[in-house]
Every structure is written in C-alpha cells, then in structure tokens.
C-alpha cells in the first residue's frame, strides 16, 4: 500500500518526477504537496483500495506522511 501511495503522489500530485520520498517523509508540512491534494488522495484511496475514509480524518495534520495515511486507511 505504501508503494502505491508513494507512486501516486510522485506521478499525480508532485510536479517533480525525480522526487524521492519515503513512508516517513513529511509531505504537507514540507510543501511537497499542498492541502488541496488531499481531495485527490481521498479519491485515489477509494478507487485503488476500496476504502472510504471520512473527510474529517483526512487533514494536513493526519495525512502528512504515507505512514500516517496507511495507519488511518487500515482503520476502515
């Protein structure tokens, strides 16, 4: 799941194809992606993993790294 999320972030949300990120990389607080990207992430998660994460659980604070995202996705 982590790999797919990382691949999606690099290809669809970032503008830098050479960007290297890990599961721990702070994404929103570093500016790699912005908070507008959370909407696209929510749609991707539902499409790719069949998980409907409520919007109130997807915030710049809770979705700042791929590791955090996976932890929350697995709650549903």
């Amino acid at each position: 799941m982590e790999e797919k999320l990382i691949a999606f972030i690099i290809s669809d949300l970032s503008d830098d194809p050479d960007l290297k990120i890990s599961a721990e990389t702070k994404l929103i607080s570093s500016g790699i992606i912005d908070s507008f990207s959370l909407v696209a992430l929510q749609a991707f998660i539902e499409r790719e993993f069949g998980k409907n994460v409520p919007p109130q659980r997807i915030t710049p604070q809770t979705f700042d790294s791929v590791r955090q995202m996976v932890d929350i996705i697995n709650e549903f």
Partner: protein, 558 residues
C-alpha cells in the same frame, strides 16, 4: 564659471585650469598607473581625429569593449565630444560562455545599428571568427593600438556637433539589450540634482571596482567624478571579485571618500576578509558608502557594519539609492544614514500588497526621497496613483530621463506614458520615502499572492549545503492548478552528494508561505549568468523549460 551642458567644455576647462591634475589611477594587482587630465585629453583628442578619419557621423553608434585602461576612457569621452553615440559593452569574462557573448554582440549590432566596435586583438579575433557578425551599418572593428597618438592638445579642427549624447545598454537577457540614450543635458541635470546627496567636493576621492557598462559605474564612478574633477581610483571588477580587500586597501591608502556598490558586494567583502585582517583598514575618510542597483538587505548591512566598525566606518555615511540608466542614474536617495528599514507584516504584504508595520516581519530598506527635479509615483495596474503603504509599479518623470531607447520606438512607446517612465519596479511610499520591493517581471504569483523570488533565494543562501548566491527561484505556469508553481534551481557545495531537502522545503514554506514545486539540485557552475555577470533568473528558467538541466541534476534522498 559659466554653466555648460557640453562635455567638451568640461574637458577643455580642466585642461586649461588643471592639466596635471592626477584624475585617474588604474589599479592592477600591486601596481597602479596615474593618468593626468593632460594625458587623458591628448588621447581623447586622438580618438576624435580617428573617428573623423573613419567617417563616423554624428549619432553613429560606437561600441567600446575594452578593459580598464586609458583607451577605455578616451574612446568614450571622444565619442561624446565628437557627437557620436558611444556605448560601453561588457568585456567577456573567461568564465562566461563565448556563445552567449557572441550572440549578444550579434543582436547588439543588428538592433542598435552599430558603426564600429573599438576593442583589443583578443576580443576582435573571437568576434571576427564568428560568421554571423554581419550587419548593414557595421563598418568594422577598431583595434585600440591602431588609433595613432598625435599628442594633440586642442580640438580646433574638430567641429562642435549639434548635440552630445551617449548610450547605456540596460542589463537584460541575451538579445534584449536596450540602448538607453542619454543627452549630456540630462547628464548634467543628474549631476546637479544628485550633488546634494553625493556631496562630492574638490579633494574627494572615488574608489571603485564597478563595471563601466552599468549606470552606477559609468555615472557615479566615472562621469560624475570627471565633471567634478574628483580623483578616481579604478579597480578591475574581475580582480576585485577575486580579491575584495583591494577596495578597502585603496580606500585606506588614499583616504578614499566615496564608494558605490551593490548589496551583494557588502556580503562578499564581509565573507572574504578574515576578522584578523579588519584592523589593517582605516575607513574614517569615507563620507559616502552608497548601496545601489539591487535591494539592500538588513542582515547584509548589519553584518558589514558590525564587522568593520573598528575601521572607523561611520554608519551615518551609508546611503541607499534607487537608480536606473533610464534616469541617467539616481532617482531617489537617502540622506544622512544609517540606512533605515521598516518591518512589514509578511502575510499582508503577500496577500494584500500593502504594508502594515509590525515589530517582527519582513525588513524593507528605504531608498529615500526623490532627488531634485525627479518626480516619483506608485501606481496600480490600471494606472491610478496609490496611497502610501500600497505596493504598485514605480513611475518617474524628470529632467534627466532618457530620450528614448535607441532604434526601438516600440519599447520607448511601451514604457513611456504621458511623459512618465514605467520603471518595471515595484514599491511603495511610506512617510514620504520610497521603498523598493522587487521587479514586476520576476514576481511569482501563486493563487493571487505575490511571491518575491529573492525571499526564497535568501533562505537558499543560508542553507549549509548550498552555495550562497548560486541559486534562482522562478514561477512556471501550472496547468493543473491554473496558477504558477515555484521552481528552485540551486547549486550544491562540492563534496555534498546525498542531501535531504525536506528541512529546506519546510523552512521556505514556513517563512515565505509557499511550497516549492520542484527543487533542482545542481553541481557547481551549472547556472547561467547574464551579460551583467549575475546569475540570470530568465536564462535559467528558459534552460530549465528546455530540459537543459535534466541530465545533470543531483539526486536527493528522502
């Protein structure tokens, strides 16, 4: 002495009243050569005769590409006196791309209808070897050694032209040099108006490393000292960059009184001279240290003043000046220092384009008040005058403005509106003083917010693994968001291979309030410089969009 607007009259008066005055000292390493008014006049008159022999007509453009030398001055002064349009062009640095130099000269020839280029064998051989240097008006190259010496002391056989003028090529991108045409009337109006701030008196001494092809070097550190008959000590810019202490050495040695320089050179001096050597300088004689040509940064000034306070340098003698070739030189200036800064709320500044003073925030330097006979307005996009503290484009109107851009009516018409000149700079008035914030063309607009690239570059300059001053930030269109996204190109210090850029990105987001879309790390010496010798945002943006950095960028780790 009756006033005049003729450079020829000034030359003849100096020759008549003080022929042996040691006006110019050219410094090269440990050696120096002093040139008297008489010697300068003789060589100037040599060039006048030579131009006449070549058939140079009034208003023919003569470009001069020479190193610091007697002929550098004589060829230009002669061009003015003769009635031609002399213009300096930069001498190619060994580090600059020859291709860039050749393309720029080619464009210059075509756009500005150059008649001759005065230079030396080294440059001429490069230019001659380039097949595309052809233009209908161009009659050829003049090697300075081919101009015969006649030891002339009069111009009796050289008729007075209808008027005197010269060109300054504005700094810009390759192929976009604009020839700013300045009459000697405008020159003398500028010298008179700026005199109150420059406070140049008999016996003063100007020490300079500035290139003569920029307005600060040409006007403040060449023509103004000549008209005022104030000694000039000139260093080569190339030499000064490698050995910045030379400037302070010579100020100490000759008790220099005036120095003009851009903000970055204060930083260069501060970083290059060890604390242990500061005690060897005596800067008490300096009565004017004028910053100009680029925004003054509080941190740079503070570091410089603290470092050199024991030299006797008086902060009250520092000035900031807003200048451009289109007004001959100065438009506004601070008077007695130290340079004042106000602190603005950064969020309001960025989002609402206005100033709200706060205890801590963005420091902006005052550029002072307009000089005599120069009017300044700050206007909105629709042209209406803005109230104080609102940021807009700066317009000027004066009696020392350009006549127009040489052979470029389109650009002249674009920038002149009802007698006002559009500077392309952004700023605001606060309590009667002008503050400059940046260039319109460099502005990045992200979601309606104005982002000044220099704010990002300032953070890059203090990053431990990046080379200070070797970075650029710019905006590119972002089709996904419909606004701009920010790209940063930055050179990495040697020895740094694997870098985590997350803390740097985070700092930029926290301080400037924007995300960096792409942070491209490059090896040293990859970024392109413009003809002014500065790293060019425009050229590097173009290179980035053309994919020129793709194969050489350094990889970062997560």
């Amino acid at each position: 002495m009756s006033p005049t607007t003729r450079f020829r009259d000034i030359m003849e008066r100096h020759l008549a009243t003080a022929p042996e005055f040691p006006w110019l000292t050219l410094i090269s390493g440990d050696e120096s050569t002093t040139i008297s008014i008489r010697r300068l006049a003789e060589r100037t008159y040599d060039y006048c005769s030579f131009y006449r022999k070549l058939g140079i007509a009034e208003n023919d453009t003569v470009v001069i590409i020479l190193k610091e030398s007697l002929d550098l001055f004589a060829s230009f002064f002669a061009g003015i006196i003769y009635g031609a349009l002399p213009a300096y062009y930069f001498y190619p640095s060994p580090k600059q791309s020859i291709e860039l130099f050749l393309r720029s000269v080619e464009n210059l020839l075509v756009r500005n209808k150059i008649k001759i280029i005065v230079s030396n064998q080294e440059v001429i051989s490069v230019l001659k070897g380039h097949h595309a240097i052809e233009a209908p008006h161009f009659i050829g190259f003049v090697e300075y050694t081919d101009v015969p010496s006649g030891n002339r002391s009069t111009l009796d056989d050289v008729p007075r032209p209808g008027r005197e003028a010269f060109l300054q090529f504005s700094s810009g991108t390759t192929g976009a040099k604009k020839g700013v045409k300045i009459s000697t009337e405008a020159l003398f109006n500028q010298i008179t108006a700026y005199a109150e701030f420059a406070n140049m008196r008999p016996g003063d001494k100007v020490v300079s490393w500035l290139p003569h092809y920029h307005d600060m070097g040409l006007i403040a550190c060449m023509l103004m000292p000549f008209v005022n008959r104030v000694e000039l000590y000139m260093l080569s810019p190339f030499e000064w960059v490698k050995n910045p202490r030379l400037l302070l050495d010579w100020i100490t040695r000759v008790k220099g009184t005036h120095m003009w320089l851009p903000n970055f050179s204060l930083g260069h001096i501060s970083r290059s001279i060890p604390d242990s050597e500061v005690g060897s300088f005596d800067l008490r004689s300096l009565k004017r240290l004028v910053c100009c040509s680029e925004p003054v940064l509080k941190e740079t000034v503070d570091v410089f003043l603290q470092k050199f306070q024991r030299t006797g340098l008086d902060p009250a003698h520092m000035q900031n000046c807003f200048a451009m070739a289109e007004n001959t030189f100065a438009m506004t200036s601070t008077s007695e220092g130290p340079i004042r800064f106000l602190t603005a709320d950064p969020d309001i500044f960025r989002k609402e384009h206005r100033i709200q003073i706060v205890p801590r925030g963005r420091d902006i330097a005052s550029a002072g008040k307009p000089i005599t006979n120069t009017e300044v307005r700050v206007v909105s996009e629709t042209g209406g005058t803005l109230p104080p503290d609102a940021v807009g484009e700066i317009l000027i109107r004066s009696n020392c403005m350009l006549e127009g851009y040489h052979n470029n009516k389109e650009e002249t018409n674009r920038t002149m509106r009802n007698g006002w000149f559009r500077t392309g700079d952004l700023g605001f008035f606060h309590e009667g003083e002008l503050y400059i914030t940046g260039r319109i063309k460099d502005m990045i607009i992200v979601g309606g917010e104005n982002i000044y690239p220099q704010d990002i570059e300032l953070i890059l300059n203090s990053c431990e693994y990046l080379l200070p001053g070797r970075n650029v930030a710019f905006g590119v269109e972002h089709s996904r968001t419909g606004t701009e996204r920010i790209v940063v190109l930055a050179e990495v210090r040697s020895g740094q291979h694997v870098i985590d850029t997350i803390p740097l990105r985070t700092e930029i987001l926290n301080v400037v309030g924007v995300s960096v879309s792409q942070l491209v790390l490059l090896p040293h010496m990859c970024l392109l410089k413009g003809t002014a010798g500065k790293i060019s945002r425009f050229l590097n943006k173009q290179a980035f969009l053309d994919g020129k950095f793709d194969g050489i960028r350094l990889k970062e780790t997560a």
